[in-house]
């Protein structure tokens, strides 16, 4: 009797959600970067604008960069009108996204607390709550007792180094499963005709007479009518090949998870002052993020002392975590802008569009930026919601200073 080969009894491989394509010679639109923003942009180009001759070029595998490394927090409680516009647009899209993509995203609106630990924190937080309300963003100011009602495991005792004096609360904020978000967008975009080319690193932009004509890649030259950059931490490197300098600095940003634990943490807690943000994933891991490593680096790896400080902060807020174990830590490369706001819009080269500078906070914006960036590419003009986030704001001085609401990292 012939022995059955290993695996012969396993079920067949499930149907693929999309097919990895071989690069063709030319496309109407090439999107550089197959993370969340690139995939969402591709989807809305096809869905909202009927542009389907589109390739998403990804140097690794789809959604394997920062999309696989973020802490999945979704919120729209930013201070300024410009930010409220685009982040709230994103949150509204999140609220219908599972139905839109017909795919489970594990989108959970469990709310976010942004803790205040000093009198100035309190003033700034109350101001931000009022600003949010004026912009139609749900926001409440909670005193320490109310904070504990929302999240019973937060230590609100007054005799700790950084006592909790209160918090802003956005009930509609939450988390989603990042992989599912990428897969949902990829599947939906593929069904509309978008192609995905993986293991295809863009090594140069081709520009002729001030207009982009294509991209050079590790898999050959690809002509393109328009090129949309969604390359996050590597945007400076790609843009430099077209002679474009950007006001970006690339830094490692670290995060970590604990082992699987019983559900203990019902919401999302962020604290600027003690430098940590924590939620609990559906599966049970505590998911924690820290601030960026100070020094510029393209290594997807950060320094241990950042993690150490982050853990100290987490234990200060959540004494119950004292016996939890760190299971895994990792880093991604984020592109930080001078005003902690993104750059989304036109570039100095015709047909080349910028989506960068999201720093530590790009995941939450995924649907909103996909929507607006697709509009920008399709119309060669920014959508009203991303018009304030132009590159030339650094010359005009019309900055969108979100260092407060961008939270821990900047």
């Amino acid at each position: 009797m012939t022995p059955r080969p290993p695996g012969a009894d396993l079920p067949e491989h499930p149907d693929r959600l999309w097919t990895a394509a071989e690069p063709r010679a030319s496309y109407d639109v090439v999107i550089v970067g197959g993370g969340g923003h690139g995939l969402a942009t591709a989807y809305y180009l096809a869905r909202n604008h009927g542009i389907t001759n589109v390739a998403v070029l990804e140097r690794g595998w789809l959604a394997g960069g920062n999309m696989a490394r973020n802490t999945t927090i979704i919120r729209s409680n930013y201070l300024w009108d410009e930010s409220a516009g685009i982040y709230e647009h994103a949150l509204k899209l999140w609220e219908g996204l599972e139905a839109e993509l017909d795919y489970p995203l594990l989108f959970s609106q469990r709310g976010v607390l942004n803790l205040a630990h000093s009198l100035q924190d309190v003033r700034d937080s109350v101001r931000r709550v009022e600003a949010n309300r004026l912009n139609g963003v749900d926001a409440e100011w909670l005193d320490p007792r109310q904070v504990q009602e929302v999240c019973p495991i937060v230590d609100i005792s007054p005799d700790v180094r950084y006592p909790v004096l209160g918090a802003t609360f956005q009930p509609r904020a939450g988390i989603a499963k990042h992989d599912h978000v990428a897969w949902g967008y990829a599947r939906a975009a593929a069904a509309l005709g978008v192609e995905f080319v993986e293991n295809c690193e863009v090594t140069g932009l081709r520009v002729s007479g001030g207009r982009v004509t294509g991209v050079e890649t590790t898999r050959g030259v690809i002509a393109a009518g328009r090129v949309a950059l969604c390359a996050a931490g590597h945007t400076s490197v790609v843009a430099a090949t077209a002679g474009i300098d950007l006001p970006l600095q690339s830094h490692p940003l670290q995060a970590l998870v604990s082992e699987l634990l019983e559900p203990v943490h019902p919401t999302v807690v962020m604290s600027n002052a003690v430098h940590v943000y924590v939620s609990q994933a559906h599966k049970g891991e505590l998911v924690m993020g820290a601030g960026i490593d100070a020094a510029n680096s393209y290594r997807q790896r950060g320094a241990f002392h950042i993690i150490e400080r982050q853990m100290a902060a987490a234990l200060e807020l959540f004494p119950i975590f004292a016996r939890a174990h760190v299971l895994r830590t990792w880093g991604g490369v984020v592109d930080v802008s001078p005003d902690a706001s993104p750059i989304v819009g036109l570039s100095p080269v015709d047909g080349l569009y910028l989506n960068c500078g999201w720093g530590t906070g790009g995941f939450k914006a995924t649907p909103g930026v996909g929507w607006c960036f697709a509009h920008t590419v399709a119309n060669d003009a920014p959508h009203p919601l991303n018009a304030p986030f132009s590159l030339d704001r650094f010359v005009t001085g019309a900055l969108v200073d979100e260092h407060g609401a961008a939270a821990v990292a900047h």
């Binding site: 590597h234 400076s236 490197v237 300098d245 950007l246 006001p247 970006l248 600095q249 690339s250 100070a294 020094a295 510029n296 680096s297 393209y298 290594r299 320094a303 241990f304 002392h305 001078p338 650094f394 010359v395 005009t396 001085g397």
Partner: protein, 92 residues
């Protein structure tokens, strides 16, 4: 964590240092004469290479002196450190 060779104190852990960003960015000779574009470039634009980067560090928990380093941002390898005022070393 980086092991950074302070030119005054020798190799110390990164946690003893404070980062100062790009080195050799001179304050404009006549700031009032700059155009908006030139001022924006001075204020907001810094090099962001994937490769060798000349940057400033302060040994804030040691000798408290500033110095410059050439570090490869793709590998984190430090090629050289040199004192403020010295020219950028030539590396291969």
């Amino acid at each position: 964590m980086l092991l950074i060779p302070c030119p005054w104190c020798g190799p110390r852990e990164e946690a003893e240092f404070h980062y100062g960003g790009q080195a050799h960015v001179a304050y404009p000779d006549d700031p009032a004469a700059l155009s908006d574009e030139e001022w924006a470039r001075y204020l907001f634009f810094r090099d962001n290479p994937k490769g060798v980067f000349a940057e400033r560090w302060s040994h804030s928990a040691g000798c408290r002196r500033w110095f410059n380093a050439l570090r490869d941002t793709a590998t984190n390898e430090i090629h050289a450190v040199y004192r403020v005022g010295e020219p950028r070393p030539v590396t291969s």
